[in-house]
Symmetry: C2
Amino acid sequence: MQMKTEELTINCGKPYAEESSHTDCHKVIMPVRDALDVISGKWKLPIIIAVSRGHKRFRDIERSIPKITSKVLSKELKDLETHKLVKRTVYDSQPVSVEYTLTPYAATLDSVIGALQKWGIQHRKKILGK
Amino acid sequence: MQMKTEELTINCGKPYAEESSHTDCHKVIMPVRDALDVISGKWKLPIIIAVSRGHKRFRDIERSIPKITSKVLSKELKDLETHKLVKRTVYDSQPVSVEYTLTPYAATLDSVIGALQKWGIQHRKKILGK
DNA sequence: CCGCATCCTGTAGGATACTG
DNA sequence: CAGTATCCTACAGGATGCGG
């Protein structure tokens, strides 16, 4: 995310003329959008999974994800790094090599991904008819 | 989602030469992308929340969500309807009125939204520094 | 009131080529 | 090997106006 300050809210007035603050809508929408910004997009999950499975080198990750381009991989890895999900380590060997690994913090995503996965599985059944 | 059949996988070979199937990557990525397709996008959550709070009529929903346009609202409501999250009821009054309500099924999203919200809250603290 | 038809823009992501 | 630099396309979403 770029920590958007953009206005995006709804008028939360309940139909029964109860007073209810605008802010509790934000309290749902804003964090959810923050989270979605981090993990949505075409390549975030594939990259996270690839790295979690032990692909550390740039070329290694690139080859393990069909059809990704180096430009996109580069950009996404930077994004994941700024969100502290991926750690980039440069080794001063000849030639210089770089390793990407998941941070321990990345594990906190497990429950989120798990929830999405679980819902996605049952939803596909629901929509396509079981 | 449009139940994409598009190929998007990764080479799941582990670094230790263990045999591991391609398919278990799909088993994570595909459902997660299905779920994300349903709830991501700029307006899905605001609409779901607006409807859940009792805004039933088209104009009512539209007015409750600042800056949304009728075209976008119309399209998003259709999407939510095809995913069985929203029910559209037409009343043969004069003039014809239409009501949108959440389906009971929509409640199954609560755990997903809850997980995203929870993670989003702590992540914002983590990134911006608490 | 409840939308749809047009037209337009901004941005994620793709193709291709090139550097240290 | 580990990326950048350009250029380009596709599609989500916005602006405006009209129709039943």
